[in-house]
């Protein structure tokens, strides 16, 4: 922890923390999803990018066999724990980029087992989206051990083709102890490897196919269980309806910003709110569903100064930022002294795309990290600019 005195919500309290991790899955699927996942073969884990630190929320039995880490050792931690001194940083940068842009990705990585032994795995990373509104729910990461080149060459002569391998994986779902057979095979491979582990390895087509089919199995299982709660998930992001949605990666970056703020779309008539931060919903009492699509004037009331509103308008028209003192109103009708900063946000083409409205209730106590309140407010503006510029620069490549 830095300057702020109070510990974060995810600190120390293990039971509480683990309950929250489990509910990342059970709240979205059903209480039985964990049992269903436990029965699936393969070494895999699920992470929740919306929780602080992007922690692992599920780890399979096969992962324990492959890495030596029991599920309880890894839950709540970031998946980078498998990396070590000789893990290729360029490959890690590739994985990070896939996470950031919510793309599926396969990469050969030198990972480390719990006992410190390095081993080569093919990492198959896949985002899991809410099928209806396209929000990102989880990342699925499947790890398939990569056999040494010589062994692979031998294997491809006799091994069944990719299609057959996929069928076998499906069949395993119905076995009683599917993990055991898989784990056994892994250990045999491990023993043969020993010291040559650090030599770069390339995954064979068969290993790639195996990773993909394992991942597909898991997504279909999630899908079966998600239907019970009315939520349908998908490995492809689909387009949402109504108000233009922000890209899922931008939404996620915005979710990490602590200040109370909304974004309005400057290109639409009446500048509707297209994003509201958690701090904003708790400050004003409006839920996200209620506030999205509204104009910022919903916060105005009888005591709101018309001159100040006009001042804001003029600054918006001239693409300038301004900070004002204003009386604003919550949903329940109560008012508060609002330190409001409004600033245009430009997209990667340099044009004004959004306006950010950062609100601070001057009557409430806050931790400003040692900054003056009006400067602390601006941190949200900086963070939004960085998020918008980064996300859009890279999505415009297509």
């Amino acid at each position: 922890m830095a300057t702020s005195g109070a510990p974060g919500p995810d600190d120390h309290d293990h039971d509480h923390g683990h309950g929250r991790l489990a509910s990342s899955l059970t709240a979205r699927y059903s209480d039985w999803v964990l049992e269903a996942l436990d029965e699936l073969p393969g070494s895999f884990l699920l992470t929740d990018p919306a929780l602080p630190g992007h922690p692992i929320v599920y780890a399979s039995g096969g992962l324990a066999a492959l890495t030596g880490y029991a599920p309880r050792d890894v839950l709540g931690r970031n998946a980078r724990l498998f990396q070590g001194a000789a893990t290729d940083r360029a490959a890690v940068a590739g994985v990070r980029e896939a996470v950031r842009t919510h793309r599926a990705h396969q990469a050969a990585l030198l990972n480390y087992r719990r006992d410190g032994a390095p081993h080569w795995v093919l990492l198959h990373l896949a985002p899991v989206f809410h099928a209806r509104d396209g929000t990102l729910l989880h990342f699925l990461a499947v790890q398939v051990p990569i056999a040494p080149a010589a062994a692979t060459r031998g294997a491809t002569c006799h091994a069944p083709g990719p299609l057959l391998a996929a069928c076998r994986d499906e069949a395993r779902v119905r076995e009683d102890l599917p993990c055991a057979t898989h784990a056994g095979k892994v250990f045999v491979d491990m023993d043969k490897r020993g010291l040559e582990a650090e030599e770069p390895r390339v995954a064979s087509d068969r290993e790639k196919e195996m990773a993909t089919s394992t991942a597909n199995n898991i997504v279909s299982a999630l899908n079966r269980y998600s239907k019970l709660t009315g939520l349908v998930v998908s490995s492809k992001r689909c387009c949402s309806i109504g108000i233009p949605a922000l890209s899922s990666s931008l939404n996620l970056s915005l979710g990490r910003i602590k200040q109370s703020f909304v974004l309005t779309d400057s290109r639409l008539p009446d500048m509707p709110i297209i994003y509201a931060s958690d701090a904003f919903t708790s400050l004003t009492g409006y839920s996200r569903e209620e506030i999205l699509g509204c104009n910022c004037k919903v916060l105005n009331g009888p005591g709101t100064s018309l001159e100040v509103l006009e001042e804001i308008n003029q600054h918006i028209c001239s693409e300038q930022a301004c900070t004002v003192d204003l009386l604003s109103y919550r949903k329940d009708g109560s008012s508060y002294c609002d330190l409001l900063h409004v600033s245009p946000i430009r997209d990667a083409s340099g044009k004004v795309a959004f306006h950010i409205w950062v609100h601070l209730d001057m009557g409430a106590k806050h931790d400003f990290n040692g900054l003056a309140p009006e400067v602390w407010l601006l941190g949200a503006v900086g963070a939004v600019r960085v998020a918008v510029r980064g996300c859009q620069a890279s999505t415009m490549t297509a």
């Binding site: 974060g8 940083r89 387009c239 970056s253 941190g379 620069a393 490549t397």
Partner: protein, 435 residues
């Protein structure tokens, strides 16, 4: 008569006090960073924790204090109108291709300045108090002092006396001609008026800043004189850009080291299939180990008059070192007019793959091939690079283990330097564009 190599270029204006730096000034009543004002001043203080790399092993999500403070203070200076232009109004894009070069169109950065003559054949030059230096910067351009707090946690004070009584404070100041949002300068021991020259202590400070920022998208860079540094007063640059740099994604080939050399945990690799030849230093049991090896390499380069650029990446865990020869080629008239016309100065950010273009036509036509062509001019030849590498190794106390090298190069084949053809991603992409 001594031969002197110079190039003419438009100097980058990093401070609003740069233009009038040459004018004589009677006294100083404007809160500068010089001896006249700084010791009696109060400035915000960012005190970083004793071991800035500590959190890297932990899972804490609450370690973004430095980036939070930096972006808040930077936005504040933007609101106060201290920058020469709004960098977020500059178009930016990722160029399609395997490496993903990032291009920015910045038509305003070099306007209204006349080209100035720069000497490019002396990597080390004595500090010249008559020229612009950071002691002439106004305090409003300073974001905070950046000091080791010697404690378990980092903290920030909005108003602190200059705490380092025994030595000059390190300061972080804005660059008034930013090439990205959050572009700042780290100036070690500002009052000591150090020339642009790497020393182990200052280089460690740069690594500590990268580790403290705890974000792979916050990087620091260094340009030596002769490699497009314009100010001979020790400084590192840094900014935040949440896109991976091409050089960070480029493949590397690890150079086998003798067991004795491996003790400090630092590994060295060579970039392959990247237009600029360079070395990658990684790991180290401590940040100091990594800082010592790389700064020894830099010291050899500067002492032997080889211009170079350094990128501090991946939270200070990964350092790229590029000896370069573009300015020398330019002075000798060996760079094509076509490239010179772009006015691109290939310093650390360009070499790393973030390329600031000055003309709209260059921006619109930018391709992986054009970026490659420019950067290839920066690189030393294979022969010269190997020669320099050998010197660097002996200066940094690195011993290559021979037998394994032969084996490895067999497997690797001949390294080819050419753009790799664009291939579709192995896995289908979801739809990501803003709907």
């Amino acid at each position: 008569m001594e031969m002197k190599l110079t190039i003419k270029r438009v100097p980058t204006v990093v401070s609003n006090y740069q233009d009038d730096a040459d004018k004589p000034r009677a006294g100083c009543g404007r809160n500068c960073l010089g001896d006249c004002c700084l010791p009696a001043s109060k400035l915000p203080l960012y005190a970083f924790k004793l071991d800035p790399a500590k959190h890297l092993q932990e899972e804490a999500a609450s370690t973004k204090l430095l980036v939070d403070i930096l972006l808040s203070e930077w936005e504040d200076r933007m609101a106060r109108g201290l920058f020469r232009y709004d960098v977020t109004a500059c178009e930016t894009k990722v160029i399609p291709g395997n490496l993903g070069f990032v291009a920015q169109l910045n038509e305003g950065r070099h306007l209204k300045k006349r080209p100035t003559e720069f000497r490019v054949d002396r990597v080390l030059q004595p500090f010249d108090p008559a020229k612009f230096n950071f002691t002439k910067v106004g305090q409003e351009e300073v974001l905070f002092q950046f000091e080791n707090g010697d404690g378990d946690d980092s903290y920030f004070l909005n108003d602190a006396p200059i705490i380092a009584v025994d030595r000059a404070p390190n300061v972080v100041a804005i660059n008034v001609s930013p090439i990205e949002y959050g572009h700042v300068l780290l100036i070690p021991r500002v009052l000591d008026r150090l020339p642009q020259k790497i020393d182990p202590e200052s280089f460690l400070l740069a690594l500590q800043m990268a580790a403290e920022a705890a974000s792979p998208y916050f990087r620091l860079g260094y340009n030596s004189l002769g490699a497009f540094a314009t100010i001979n007063h020790l400084h590192f640059q840094a900014y935040y850009l949440s896109v991976p740099f091409p050089v960070e994604k480029a493949a590397t080939h690890k150079i086998p080291l003798s067991e004795d050399t491996m003790k400090n945990g630092v590994t060295v690799s060579k970039l392959i299939n990247y237009p600029v030849r360079g070395l990658v230093f990684e790991g180290g049991n401590t940040l100091e180990d990594l800082a010592n090896v790389v700064s020894n390499a830099c010291i050899w380069l500067q002492d032997n008059n080889v211009p170079y650029n350094v990128l501090v990446s991946d939270c200070g865990k990964r350092i790229f070192l590029f000896p370069q020869c573009y300015a020398e080629k330019q002075a000798l008239g060996e760079v094509s007019q076509e490239l010179l016309d772009t006015q691109v100065n290939p310093a650390v950010w360009e070499i790393s793959g973030h390329i600031v273009l000055k003309r709209r036509s260059d921006y619109e036509e930018a391709s992986e091939t054009s970026a490659w062509k420019l950067l290839a001019e920066v690189s030393l030849s294979e022969e010269r690079f190997e020669e320099v590498k050998a010197y660097i190794f002996s200066a940094a106390g690195l011993v290559q283990s021979d037998e394994e090298e032969e084996e490895a190069s067999e497997g690797e084949g001949t390294t080819t330097f050419a753009p790799v053809p664009v291939t579709p991603l192995p896995v289908a992409e979801g739809c990501l564009v803003r709907q």
